[in-house]
Amino acid sequence: MILNINALSKRYGNTPVLENVSLAVEKGSVAVLVGSSGGGKSTLLRCINGLETFDSGSIEICGHELTAGAHASNVLVKLRRDVGMVFQHFNLFPHLSALENVAMAPRLVEQLSEEEAFQRASSLLDKVGLAAHVLAKPATLSGGQQQRVAIARSLAMRPRVMLFDEPTSALDPEMTAGIVDLIVDLAASGQTMVIVSHDRDFSRIVDARVFVIEKGCVARCGSPAEIFSERSTRNTRSVQYP
């Protein structure tokens, strides 16, 4: 297993956010975390990346182990070179162009030369369909374009696992379709991914495992067909849970 979460619990004060969560993800597979708002999905994802601490349990990912309490900064730096994250609100660096956004981490973290970093960035932006916008600043891009840049930026570090925190929630349906397609293609290429989403279209990912997170616990898990209700309305992309 490339990701193993064991009995993870977290509280904010006296309020439990995650309770005894355990799940495992195989290399090359996709895990989709679904559930109603406030259920703890995003918090779980942030715990995996070390952006949040937790009170008990452990996380093992790409050979790195995180335990309860504060994490050492050197452990997190190494972990995050193997684990990429794409955020709901993109979090692109507004003072840099798309090319510079994508090239920054390879230059700083992998110590690539400027030429090598820009070459890699250019290739990735082309892959996500933004070859014509490499010099554009994020403020001049649409939401869908910005999220593509964010995905390219994360892929630039060649992570072994990609985390997506509601990647389409801030987008309109037309842009959402494009992003979903992109992520589906990534899955098909063998990228290990954990996706938090309300969007049932991720059920198109073959061999995805869907985990229903409710009230901080894993309520159910199974294939998309097992989890998603046949009674969901035709014109809505939202999920109804059994």
Binding site: V109, K137, T140, S154
Partner: protein, 497 residues
């Protein structure tokens, strides 16, 4: 005939009005019951200075002189504080006359009404007893390290005299006591003051001695406005009475100022011939080199201080937001202390108090250090706001890419914060530009101080105001344009780099 009578009536009426208007200045004072006289109590003894037993009250030989003169006019004397080199500007506003060691000069005779002299002064050096300066002749030759550094009162006869000497460098102070303290600390080589100051303070500074006998010099006068001829005449009469009946001699004897000699000298002093006002072009030719030199000083102080203030301010802001918890209270304390005390006090502390613990800084360095420290506190708050305005998602995104916290700060957060705070920092730069005028308290002559000194000595306030304002605009406007360009270039909403 009738028209001639009407014409004569008009003339007589105008004359009556003229006399009435000018008689008003003395009548107004008598109706008010007090003569308001201006002086600078920072000038020190024996002129006008705070009574050590009751600091709210001023004493000095000029205080007693003012009371005698007012008594002769049938009114009481009321003291009005002002900065020495700007005292004449108070005439007609908050003071009727100025009595404060003001030297009678052709320029002052031209621009104001100077009373008959009441004191004959000479210039005299004060230098360390154990130093090499034992005669005036020594001072007029080069020192071992170049020109001798001589402290003088800004805008005084001593300053004008030193500026004509090749082997002397004038260090201008706002008050004589500060200059003398710096001779004691070794910051300057000697001080050149009026002899009554030297006589008074020679015993109070046991490590110093008077060098040579008084030389050059002139007379002190009571200054009044050109528009108060009646008052001026009345003051002359009052002084004449005081000289004749012996009260002036008694006054000077009380203050150990060689009463008999003084009265002899002032009684026989000849009238000063007023200077001729030069043309606008001649005036410009005279003052522009000095103004430009001082403008250069303003620019130097600003461009050296502000970048350092920004650097220190940014470091403090980063430390407060991201530094170790034990450091934060110290940084908060620094900001509150520096921000909560006036720049002038800070400059005083750096320039006048540090030598007491063996740290003597040149005036320019002290000015730059003072400006830097003062503005670093404001910059730190600006940058703290800028850093907090950057979304926390930015640092999360950076760190999720494998960057260290330090890399995330310097490559992602701070560049964004710098763009956010640029307008505020620009405003602060312009404020610092103008605040350089405070540096005159530590003897740095920048543009505003130069304007002030020239205005006092030449009386051409309007022309100097215009020229100085234009110089300031010429310095600050390009700066604003440059920053505007930089803001446009760094605008994150632009399409391309």
């Amino acid at each position: 005939m009738r028209s001639f009578a009407e014409f004569l009536t008009a003339i007589l009426f105008s004359l009556a009005c003229f006399v009435e208007c000018n008689a008003d200045d003395l009548n107004r004072i008598r109706e008010r019951g007090e003569l308001v006289w201006a002086a600078d109590q920072e000038g020190g003894a024996p002129y006008v200075f705070p009574d050590t037993e009751n600091p709210s009250k001023v004493i000095g030989f000029e205080v007693e002189l003012a009371e005698m003169v007012a008594g002769e006019l049938g009114v009481k004397a009321r003291f009005q504080q002002g900065q020495w080199e700007r005292l004449p500007l108070l005439l007609g506003r908050s003071a009727d006359c100025c009595i404060n060691g003001i030297e009678m000069t052709p320029e002052r005779s031209r621009d104001y009404r100077c009373s008959r002299p009441y004191y004959a002064f000479g210039l005299q050096f004060l230098a360390p007893k154990d130093g090499p300066l034992d005669t005036v002749n020594t001072l007029l030759h080069p020192g071992p390290q170049g020109p001798w550094r001589v402290g003088v009162l800004t805008g005084s006869a001593a300053e004008m005299w030193v500026s004509t000497q090749v082997n002397l460098f004038a260090v201008s102070y706002d008050n004589c006591v500060a200059a003398t303290d710096h001779v004691v600390s070794g910051s300057i080589d000697a001080v050149l003051q009026d002899d009554c100051f030297v006589s008074w303070y020679a015993d109070r500074y046991p490590s110093l001695r008077a060098v040579g006998r008084p030389f050059d010099g002139g007379f002190y006068t009571i200054l009044t406005s050109k528009s108060t001829p009646i008052l001026s005449a009345a003051l002359n009469d009052a002084l004449g009475t005081i000289i004749t009946d012996g009260r002036l001699k008694q006054l000077y004897d009380r203050w150990d100022l060689a009463g008999h000699q003084q009265v002899t000298l002032v009684r026989h002093a000849s009238e000063m011939i007023p200077a001729v006002r030069s043309s606008w072009i001649e005036f410009l030719y005279e003052v522009m080199p000095l103004l430009l030199q001082s403008a250069g000083m303003t620019v130097l102080l600003s461009f050296l201080s502000m970048p350092m203030a920004i650097g220190i301010g940014l470091a403090i802001a980063v430390g407060r937001l991201y530094g170790p918890p034990m450091v934060r209270p110290l940084l908060v304390g620094y900001v509150e202390l520096v921000r909560g005390t006036p720049l002038m006090l800070q400059l005083y502390a750096i320039f006048f108090l540090l030598p007491m613990i063996g740290l003597t800084l040149p005036a320019i360095v002290a000015a730059i250090v003072g400006l830097t420290i003062n503005y670093s506190s404001y910059e730190s708050e600006i940058y703290r706001a800028g850093l907090r305005a950057v979304s926390p998602g930015q640092i999360e995104a950076a760190m999720s890419l494998g960057m260290t916290r330090r890399q995330a700060l310097w490559k992602v957060v701070i560049p964004q914060a710098a763009r956010i705070v640029m307008p505020a920092v620009t405003s602060d730069f312009i404020a610092l530009f103008k605040d350089t005028s405070v540096c005159s308290v530590v003897t740095v002559i920048e543009l505003t101080k130069r304007y002030s000194v020239l205005a006092m000595s030449t009386g051409r306030i309007v022309e100097l105001s215009m020229i100085t304002a234009i110089l300031y605009l010429l310095m600050s406007w390009p700066m604003s344009m440059l920053v505007q360009r930089l803001e446009n270039r760094l605008d994150t909403n632009r399409h391309y780099n």
